[in-house]
Structures are given as structure tokens and as C-alpha cells.
Symmetry: C2
Subunit: 386 residues, 2 copies
């Protein structure tokens, strides 16, 4: 069985990047990853692109061909993968499979999204394409609305509080303070979150990740060639699950069965478990989703996520340091890029060159969620190959 | 090395299917493929979806999750792949790689597109997302316009005539006559094509494939389990190439370097060559593209494609029977579905249950093109495993 390593990482700043187009962003991240890996683009045999919404927001599909050209990779095979906000990790997983198949030894994975070329209201409407547009979008639901329903259900079932949710955003903003790529460098308080403008109650503005432009890229290599690179970080496992696109069909609004399936597969592939993981990246598109993720991944019992956050479990010095570079809330959320950016931030922690560097961390876990969990993808990374 | 076989095929009718939604179409094709394979959906371990434009035309991304639910596959991993009109074969290729990686033994590949929920002018505008929207769409080019430029260049360089191009459409309509799934069941003449309303000169209405709804699905299996199935057709090779998204950057307008790369890889993987192939499916989105495809794939010298068609080379009794079930022009072109439909029609010829069944055909080749060749994907299929 072929093993796969992350051997280079690169990203653009995330934010409202008026001066940069989607193609600019992708090329910038790809170039940075090549430089970090110390490899020429000629060595890259294929490119996997993660993007959700360029068709809607930029009238541009066929993005992989665009990047084949502008990254100087023609006539090599290039692939666009899409699973809403999990597009980045979906691309990573397909690239991982392609290397395992023996087809390639070195593959680039590029997540990119340009969200500020349309108005915020157009973008919000477009993001409903990540949920069931026909059955739930058409009746007026937005993504904040969907997650607000899940938050209400969680509060009702488990006594989760708005303050506990607020602490998720506070932690992510705090961690982003020193991250040069982050959209926000502002500390916020629980009071700030509680007093922010309501978006879809109980979620306020500061419970919600922002609309962002940005791109992130990793270079993957097979074990055959990974030894040539200075800083390999091994992809120990990759798991993926699905659930209904809309929430009406769900048995429960307080969990994501797709995450259960994805993480179970990773534990099965790796023989690892929660206790073996020293750093965690989760998908905090809305504050409640970080709490649900902690539970669904098994870092605390179902319903105990709010308390876990309240007790400091997710902080840099906590039980499982989570989103140590700032998460989607602090760094920004260019949707197709976020899944790749999560991999970068865990890889940097494992390499030892991260923002808010932890001591002696050997393994990390990433959870990237599409929509309201229609897709969930989990990757485990490690310093050691096994 | 794991080998992969097509063990089941199914499709919907192609056409203006006002009464069916995208989800209806996908489920219908998936169900038909399961039935053809004689397998329960429980045996399907993953789903790969090819779709280009649901984000633009149906405000719906995250389609793989939609189909995971409606095809009864939750919580299994599901993937959407997109490369404009080559989305179907891109999904097939990724599924093929996933089986080769050892991750799965049985995978479904579903191509689906719903194009008639928007007006024709909206659809035509949306299809420009398959080309360089920012650099070439913004100046007014349409897809018919792009291919018209290529047709003019081909006529200028090689003396290709409008009559030769018209014969492509005549052949495709003739072949579609008995195809129960085809959008058109009308024989047309060269005069009909020449006298049709101009779309983008020299291309008239009957040089252009239609806007269509439809879905097509194949079930793939590894060699480990393929013996359980009654009618395996082997995927002997899969090649993919890229070229610039727009045409302005091309060295030549009369060929597609992506096709050269894709077919060269297939010959390398299989040790086969043109003489070993008894049936061909090519991407006749516009009549000129079938001529270019014949040349780029090596079935005739560069520039000789028009003459090859004029001499009957593509007919059922010709040198290389091409698009024997009617092609994109005759069957219709629901863009994400066409690449999968091509595989179905070659597989049926090899199994012996095709429309316009050929005698004693052992191997076939499919070329699916995205945009104006920004992506080209070639698959070789065969009755024998090697």
C-alpha cells in the first residue's frame, strides 16, 4: 500500500481581496506551496482543485483547466472536485486516492474561492446551493438559518448556552491574532458576541464565519519520493461520509451522521483514537458547528460540547487545542479553500512552524464539513509514517 | 495492479424532460444501472457524480450529497467532479482511480444535467462558464462562436467544407433513429444542415448539439469482484489532458493538445493503437469537433478529417464506426451525462446489445471533451481484460 505525505504548503492571505481575481489567488497559493516544498512545477503530475461556487459567483466552471494553464501545468490531467464547503478536503482525498492508485507520485491540491465579486446578499443566496435549494432554499432558509435551527435544537436538548457558543468565536479570534494570513486580527469577548447584530437567532454576526476570498495549496507525494523532501507530514488516514442534503430528513438536528462515518473510517484505517491526537481542526462555519464537531468526533460525549468549550477544552493549553491558527471564524472562510487550509495549519503544527506553535505534537485531525453535513471529510496527519 | 470493469449501465431518455427534475433523472439512471448489473445498492461503496452546471442552472451545488440521499447510499462517500462537458468521464476516471487504489470494489458513476429549467438564452450564457468567462466570455463569445472560429480556421487551413461538416450531423441523426433514448428520431440531409438557421457562421442550427436533460450511470467493479457479474466490459485505459481554458492562448485553432496527451497516455497504458479499435465515440458538440477529434485521435492525418467523413469513414459500415447510437447531436447533450453515456454506448456494442449493433467488435474508444478542449479524456474499453 502506497503512503502519502504532505511535502509542501502555501496559501494566500484570506479576506476581502478586491484587487485579486480567482486566478490570481490560485496561482499565488500554488506558487507558495511549490516554494515551500522546494520543487519545480515540472515535477507536479496532476492538479486537484477544490472550489464550490465559481459557477455562480464568477460565471466560471471548468476551473481546473483555468489553473492548468495559469499554473503552467498543461497538458497534465487536472480535476475539479466539489462538495460545497468540503470541496477542499474532497480534492485532497481524491488526490490521496490517485497517488495510492499508483497513477502519480507528486500531486498538487489547490482550494480556491472568490466570494466578494458579488454582493453579500447574492453570496448568501448562492451559498444555499450547498443545502437543498429546491426543498429548503425555496422556502426561505439560509445557511445561517439552517445552523440556527441546529443551535436551537442543541440548546433545547442539552442546555447548551449562547455563552458557550460565543466562547468558540472568542477562542478562534484569539488564535487568529498572530496569524498573518487571517482575515481578522481583533480579540473579541463573549459580550461582543452576545451583543452583535442578530443574523438568524440564536446566531449573531460574530457566531458566523465571514465571506472571504482566498486560496490554499498543498503538495502531496508518495512514500517513494517523499524522502526527497525536507518536511514530510504523513496523511495517516482519510475518511468521508454523507448525509441528507437538507435537514428535514434527518433523525436528529444535533449531530452529523456523515461525521460519524468519516471519523470511524479514519480510526479503522489508522488504529488511532482521540487520545492519540494532539491538535484538531474543525469546521466552525458557525459557532454551534464547532461544538457539534467536538461531540461527533468523540472528543466529548454527545451534548457535552458546550461544557467542554466552557471548561477551556479547545484552548491552546486545553485538552485538545482546536483551530489553533484561528479557524474559519478568525482566518476567514473562502469555502473551497478552507479544507486545504485546515490541512496546512495542522501540517505546520506537526512540522513546528505554526502560529501558536504547540509543544511536542505528533498527530492531528481535520474535519471539513460540506453544507449542514451532507458531506463530512476527516483526515489524520502525523509526523511519523505509521 | 487492479483492473476495472463496467458491469452495469443505465440511462434516462435524453431530451426536453419538463416533467423530471435533476434528482428524478439521477435516481432513474442509477436504478437502471443497478438493475442492469443485477446488484443491490447496498453493494455500491461510493458514488462519483459528473455534473457541470447545476449551480448556475438549478442553484444547486453539492449534488453528490443530494444523490447519496435519493439513491439510498448514505452515509457512504460521494464525490462530484466537474470539467464542463467532460464532467461525466472525469467522474468515471476518478472512480477508476479510486478502485485502482484499493479503496473500493464497486463504485457507481452518475452523470446528470438538467438544462431546460432555464431559458435557452440563459443556458447558452451559462455554458460559456466552460470557456474562459472573464477573458473570452466577457467580449461576447459563445460556445457556438468558439467552435465557429475553429471551424473557420480548419476550413482555411485544410479546405474542409460545410458539406463535410454537415455529413457529421447527418450520420449522427441517422444513427440515432433507432435509439430509444435519443432526443431526435429524424433523418436529416446535407441540404437540411446547410439551409438551417445560422447560429455562428459557418455553423448552423443542425451543426450544433441541443440543450438536453438527462442522466447516465455505470457501475464499475474491480477484477476481484467483476467475475460475479454477467457482462463485464473492461476499462483498458484512461487518459486525460489539459489545454488552455480559452482559445486565444492556443498555438493552433485546428487541434486540441489535450486530446493528443490523453490518447497518447491510453496507447501507452494499453499497448494498443488505432487499428485495434473497432468502435469510436467522439464529442460532436458541434459538427467540426467530430472532424477535429478524428484527426487528434489519429484515425486520419491532420487536416484529412473532412475527407475521411466525406468518404464514409465514420458510418456504421465505414473504417471506424463512430457515434453508432447517435452522438451528442442525435442523442442529445446533457453536458454532465454525455461522458458517461458514451461509455454506455461503447459497452453495449462490446456486450452485443447496442443500437445499430456491429459484428464482432472487441475494443472501443471514447473521447469526451470539456469546453473547447480545456479538458480531454479518453477511455479504452474491451471485451477481454487485456
Amino acid at each position: 500500500m502506497v503512503d502519502v505525505a504532505v511535502v509542501g504548503v502555501g496559501q494566500t492571505a484570506f479576506g476581502e481581496l478586491w484587487e485579486k481575481s480567482l486566478r490570481n489567488l490560485g496561482v499565488e497559493a500554488f506558487t507558495a506551496a511549490l516554494k515551500d516544498a522546494g520543487v519545480d512545477r515540472a515535477a507536479v503530475q496532476a492538479l486537484y482543485v477544490g472550489n464550490m461556487a465559481a459557477g455562480y459567483m464568477s460565471s466560471q466552471e471548468h476551473l481546473a483547466s483555468l489553473f492548468a494553464d495559469h499554473c503552467g501545468l498543461m497538458p497534465k490531467p487536472v480535476v475539479r472536485c466539489e462538495a460545497a464547503c468540503a470541496s477542499g478536503s474532497l480534492a485532497l482525498r481524491q488526490a490521496w486516492l490517485s497517488i495510492k492508485s499508483g497513477a502519480y507520485d507528486i500531486v498538487a491540491v489547490l482550494g480556491a474561492e472568490k466570494m466578494t465579486d458579488v454582493t453579500a446578499s447574492t453570496a448568501v443566496a448562492g451559498l444555499m446551493a450547498a443545502g437543498d435549494a429546491e426543498w429548503e432554499g425555496a422556502i426561505g432558509l439560509t445557511f445561517a438559518g439552517l445552523y440556527a435551527l441546529m443551535a436551537r435544537a442543541h440548546m433545547h436538548a442539552f442546555g447548551t448556552t449562547r455563552e458557550q457558543m460565543a466562547l468558540v468565536s472568542v477562542n478562534n479570534h484569539k488564535n487568529a491574532m498572530k496569524n498573518p494570513y487571517a482575515q481578522f486580527h481583533s480579540a473579541i469577548t463573549v459580550e461582543d458576541v452576545l451583543n452583535a447584530a442578530p443574523i438568524a437567532e440564536p446566531l449573531g454576526l460574530l457566531d458566523c464565519s465571514p465571506l472571504s476570498d482566498g486560496a490554499a495549496c498543498v503538495i502531496l507525494a508518495s512514500d517513494k519520493v517523499a524522502k526527497r523532501f525536507a518536511k514530510p507530514v504523513w496523511v495517516l488516514g482519510s475518511g468521508q461520509g454523507s448525509a441528507s442534503l437538507g435537514i428535514a430528513a434527518r433523525a436528529s438536528l444535533t449531530e452529523m451522521p456523515s461525521t460519524h462515518a468519516a471519523v470511524a473510517d479514519v480510526w479503522k484505517q489508522t488504529g488511532l483514537h482521540n487520545k492519540d491526537v494532539g491538535i484538531l481542526e474543525v469546521h466552525d462555519c458557525f459557532s454551534i458547528n464547532e461544538i457539534i464537531a467536538l461531540e461527533d468526533l468523540g472528543f466529548c460525549p454527545k451534548g457535552a460540547g458546550g461544557k467542554f468549550v466552557e471548561n477551556g477544552g479547545i484552548t491552546i493549553s486545553g485538552e485538545i487545542p482546536t483551530n489553533t491558527a484561528g479557524g474559519l471564524k478568525g482566518i476567514g472562510h473562502p469555502v473551497g479553500a478552507s479544507g486545504v487550509r485546515q490541512i496546512i495549519d495542522v501540517a505546520r503544527q506537526l512540522r513546528g512552524d505554526a502560529v501558536n506553535q504547540l509543544n511536542d505534537v505528533k498527530r492531528g485531525l481535520c474535519l471539513n464539513v460540506g453544507g449542514v453535513g451532507g458531506t463530512a471529510i476527516v483526515h489524520a496527519l502525523g509526523v511519523e509514517r505509521k
